[in-house]
Symmetry: C4
């Protein structure tokens, strides 16, 4: 059997990068739940008190939610970028590996934020540390996009609309600035910093493009 040459083989390489990346994203996002500990409850305690115990853990849930939405948003960006590519090269594979390195590392600062909640000086460190990891992830996504553009990985025949879309995606400068702002604010007031991370993650997850389309359709 003749083996697939050129294009087919190149697509295959892209597929395997996607499979491996999807695996790491999916595992990192799912491991987050292991950080949520069930509070110990003494015998003879009423249901209301148990609910209070659970409610006291809100920083843990918040950290879970923020990290889940952030990894989810990165997955969506990554998926849009790689989807628009014609092929990948060895440098792209390695830059991608560094993105995954920080993505897989995120459960650690997440745990830091939830374990140190309530201890303000420690919270400060955790929130800034967390922000730096998010910052690096965004930087890596931008680097991937720039490398793809410079090396012509989008292909010559790529539909312009599609290239445009991918380009928009990695023009992440606004979220880069937002992360720096959140980290600085987080050092002054940890809770404000976390709230900002939450807002950025929600913002990134909102499908503005599609909502606009749906509204136009209805009108």
């Amino acid at each position: 059997m003749a083996e697939p040459q050129g294009p087919a083989r190149i697509k295959h390489k892209k597929n395997r990068l996607e499979a491996f990346s999807d695996g790491v994203f999916a595992i990192a996002i799912t491991l987050l739940v292991l950080e949520i500990a069930v509070p110990a409850v003494k015998l003879g305690v009423g249901s209301g008190e148990v609910i209070n115990h659970l409610a006291d853990e809100w920083p843990v849930y918040l950290a879970y939610f923020v990290s889940f939405m952030t990894i989810g948003a990165v997955w969506i960006e990554h998926s849009a970028l790689v989807d628009a590519l014609d092929h990948i090269d060895g440098v792209f594979m390695r830059l991608n590996l560094v993105l995954l390195l920080f993505c897989a590392f995120l459960p650690f600062p997440t745990r830091m934020m939830s374990e140190w909640a309530g201890n303000v000086p420690a919270e400060r460190v955790a929130v800034v540390f967390y922000g730096i990891v998010l910052l690096v992830m965004t930087l890596m996504l931008m680097l991937l996009g720039r490398h793809a553009e410079r090396q012509g990985l989008f292909g010559d025949d790529a539909a312009d609309e599609r290239k445009e879309e991918a380009r928009v995606k990695y023009q992440l400068t606004p979220s880069l600035i937002a992360y720096v702002a959140a980290a600085v604010l987080g050092f002054l007031s940890p809770r404000l910093g976390v709230s900002l991370y939450l807002l950025i993650a929600i913002y990134l997850a909102i499908p503005l493009r599609d909502i606009r389309k749906m509204l136009r359709k209805r009108a």
Copy 2:
């Protein structure tokens, strides 16, 4: 090489959503086992007593089984729905992310149920909490189905039979009502609630359609 346009690209997006979702489902379902602790056994204790120790852990096994079957059933529903789609949009991707958020969260209430077993007021809270998570998962599946229908994601050419099948799948109103009933019952009697979750999961996992076909074939 000319890149795939329109359909092929759309299929590709769908494939990546499936790969990521399958990853999260598979990890969530497999992480459940980490919650089962091996009971400490003292030296000099007989085999019969060891078996008793293991048997005393039945709520842990039950919680494992219920959660495994529930995630399994959700995977089957999800797989049938996405399979029937012609393409997906950005809103579908985000709604799917919220479904995964709750699915990946399930190991936490599972652990709650098994750790608080025997402490009735805490069990009540755990069983209701667990039910709410299942309820939201079912709601998200329904939302995904409705969004797909309204936005025409099934495609115009979709075989009617196939659309019908997917529609049946996300008409999950009965299981929605059953989860509300189980949560309410669970507050009154935790064990009754868990038993109901078990019954729903088993019911959802029974391939009624196929069994009917097989019976007809034999007749």
Copy 3:
């Protein structure tokens, strides 16, 4: 775009079952390492003593190895069976889910075997318990094969040689008997039982068919 009808769609369903199953197998096999604890080492202890500490943990490594090879062997069988199928049905999906249930459960009896090592009455229980889980996994594989044959899932056009190969794979009666023997022996002498599990896993992992081919080639 017209959606794929019949065959293509059916293949797609099979692909998704494979993706999900591969995920569960891969996670179960990789989670095993979490059970291996690093022994605490006091300051001032020499390197030789540290090696002794590590060597004392041999039952843990053995349990890791046996479980890894067993899940690996099941993956190979599963892969050969599903590969030979023309399509799958809803019953196959659910039977497969039960197989995965026990596969994902295996890290628990693995931990039992390594934690209770040295405590003979507890070891007895662990080894028998472990054997029962392996037995059920083998039974589920056989059930999957029989269901596929009865419902004609291999397809009418399937090459006879290929069907034959798959059939051989799920005629697992010998390993079924071996597991029963190992469990019974394990109750009398736990170490003998574990050794037998090890032998079965190694035997299942040996590619007899290919070795024969290679020998013929050389001759």
Copy 4:
């Protein structure tokens, strides 16, 4: 429907081996983060001291980084090798399983290195143990490549350039020697050993081939 014969089926087998391997690589690489514990911080401690606590954990981060880059490099080699193959056989599947066995095992020596950091005699054992696992992984990769060549798994029609590329990849003799040197050095001076592992991982991850291409392009 006629089922795919010969080539298509063979490709399918290769795809499933890739899916399973990608799963194990992705999980092993992502589980590493679970080994990083958040240091306990007392109330009333300043932010500076918290940063010191975190900084004291540097061997843990180093171990995380080295293991992540090593698994990443192995994934890249594995991906290049399997990509160049025309088909696989049963022996290849089993050899691959042994490679995965050691890859999935790596989080254990990683934890050993980070937990025993600072205790020189124990560090010695950990660094040598770690090196042996890396050595076996490299050996298994070489074995996979040699088996593929001897059994003609690259196919007769394979483009020579492509075969050449894959051959270069598994001529891992230099990294084999480097691992032996690192393990020996590590016994004399653990920190020197770890630094060498770090250098090898970074070296393996550098895309020399692509960088050369990019430089030529600019010139």
